[in-house]
Symmetry: C2
Subunit: 347 residues, 2 copies
């Protein structure tokens, strides 16, 4: 899934150039490229389907030039993730009606590639044998109030060695106090938004919980004309696969991941995930010379050098067209700066 428009990461992430297309960790590859590479180790490259918005098709094909025509699906309108997954499922159904499918965001950070490969391999071996939906749960490192939490329970009938658990509850974006209780209890995992299921299981769940989406999308195929795709998107409401299916289905299990995970949706979550220097500065990317700076979150786009003296607890983001300097504890203001900027520049 590569259609998101990360708005809280401005100016690094912009409406027409969102996070999945950016090298946020300065690794020489964008999040989409990293995600593609990660899944290329789990299945043949040509089995990866990328769903994005029409406006981003060129970016996707530019960043992964090897993609065949049918590997990029373009959404004419934004309908959240349930229609997106259904569209991809319909295409996969033409190729292999019994395929194991991993549904995954393309703009999340994964720490520990070999653990990731191991966990996903296990998940597929589970869905291969059972008509289950396996969702990946990350061990929470802090009481994040922006994440979804999955409460799990031990189930003696499940194999111990693949960390599989029964799902008890889903809680989206709990208040801080609740999130703290969740963490203390040790019974909760972060919902990493990665779902593994076989195609017949997926289709059955859609037919049961989102029959309108199933009716409109499962008849689509590689050869479908653009009008049919547009008609399908027009016929359905915005709904997420989490809310529409995963939280309602009874055959959902959660696998406790052994890799680290972050959705890196905000400057603060990027700061949390980055390595820090001796003074607490997180330099996600770029050539940076710091003098007497502490606890700063820094991201500099390609080629530029940032020189800073005497700055504590600031975000500094240098992009091709913009420079943002903002205290880390004022991050919630950034949406306003972005809206001011576009108001000013669209006149």
């Amino acid at each position: 899934m590569a259609g998101g428009t990360g708005s809280r990461f401005w100016p690094m992430s912009r409406p027409n150039h969102p996070k999945q297309f950016i090298d946020i960790f300065g690794q020489g590859k964008t999040m989409l490229q990293s995600t593609f590479e990660r899944y290329s180790k789990l299945c043949p490259r040509e089995n990866i389907i990328i769903v994005t918005s029409e406006a981003f098709e060129d970016k996707v094909r530019m960043q992964i030039p090897s993609l065949l025509d049918h590997q990029v699906l373009c959404e004419p309108t934004r309908r959240n993730t349930a229609p997106c997954v259904a569209y991809a499922a319909a295409i996969i159904n033409e190729i292999n009606p019994n395929a194991n499918i991993i549904v995954s965001p393309s703009d999340h950070a994964i720490f520990g590639d070999s653990q990731f490969e191991h966990d996903l391999g296990e998940a597929i071996s589970v869905t291969d044998k059972h008509d289950w939906i396996v969702t990946l749960g990350a061990t929470p490192s802090n009481p994040n109030t922006k994440y979804g939490y999955i409460q799990f329970a031990e189930d003696p009938s499940l194999s111990e060695d693949c960390n599989l658990h029964k799902v008890v509850t889903f809680t989206e974006k709990p208040p801080l106090e609740m999130a703290m209780q969740f963490i203390q209890s040790g019974e909760f995992l972060w919902n990493a938004g990665i779902f593994v299921w076989r195609l017949p299981v997926l289709m059955e769940a859609y037919r049961k919980f989102l029959p309108n989406v199933a009716d409109n999308f499962f008849s689509l195929g590689i050869a479908s004309p653009k009008e049919d795709i547009e008609r399908a998107y027009t016929a359905v409401e915005k709904i997420s696969v989490d809310f529409g299916i995963i939280e309602k289905a009874e055959n959902v299990h959660v696998m406790k991941s052994t890799f680290g995970w972050s959705d890196v949706e905000t400057w603060d979550s990027l700061y949390q995930t980055c390595n820090k220097d001796d003074y607490g500065n997180a330099i996600a990317a770029g050539e940076v010379m710091l003098y007497d700076c502490n606890d700063c979150m820094i991201h500099v786009a390609d080629g530029r050098t940032l020189i800073v003296k005497d700055l504590d607890d600031y975000i500094v983001n240098v992009t091709e067209k913009k420079v943002l300097i903002c205290p880390r504890n004022q991050e919630q203001m950034i949406a306003k700066f972005a809206s001011d900027f576009y108001l000013k520049n669209e006149k």
Copy 2:
């Protein structure tokens, strides 16, 4: 004179791209272009000779494409201003041996173009009639310790209406206390580095005070081969026209300028010369969105937008390749940052 390498204005000004070639006030023209335009109102454009270093010839010709071959003189080595002026004088001597000559830096700021035009016109009318050297003196607005000061005395024999005065003393870069006394006395002007004299007066002064420079340079001409120019530069010492001639000659008068002047050699002097917003921020150039910022000095190169929240008393400079963020009172550190940068990047 366009050969300087402003080092204290980093990173806006760089050794290979010094201040005269930069649009430091965001006016859509560089200091060289502004200076050229200013003098174009006083004499035909083709009478303007620009002396620069060989390395900068392309920059000069790119910024002022109308220049004829002989209007750009290239210095093979840096010898300060006395040889530079002598070289230009030799060329002018071939065109008009009785020319009035204005010697001027190309990287200073002038405020009040019509006053400038008026004052220089007056100065030329003086040198046209008298065998005098007229130097322009700016009224000091603060006890700047980086400037040269000219003490003047009323001279009843001089015409009142052109603000001409006898020169009593020259003092280069006085200590702060002395500078403050200078200002209080009302008898001192800043040496703006602009000298007006007729060619025979100039040549006579050189022959008297810098005979070695005169011998080596006055024989040069438009057709001189490169070797002759190199030989002349090799034969002389580094010496400024101020120290070598103006401070020694007896026929020097100072004209109190009615225009504003600054050599804008440092971020602080740029701050002093810029208009401020209601919060004391000086935005010299660029698209800037400030939120709760005070007393900042900001310069953003073409096309970028700077967004800043909660910054007081900082310099923020955004160039094509670098971003500097530094407290205004730490400006003296910038030379170190620049040297660290070049050490790091020349490896």
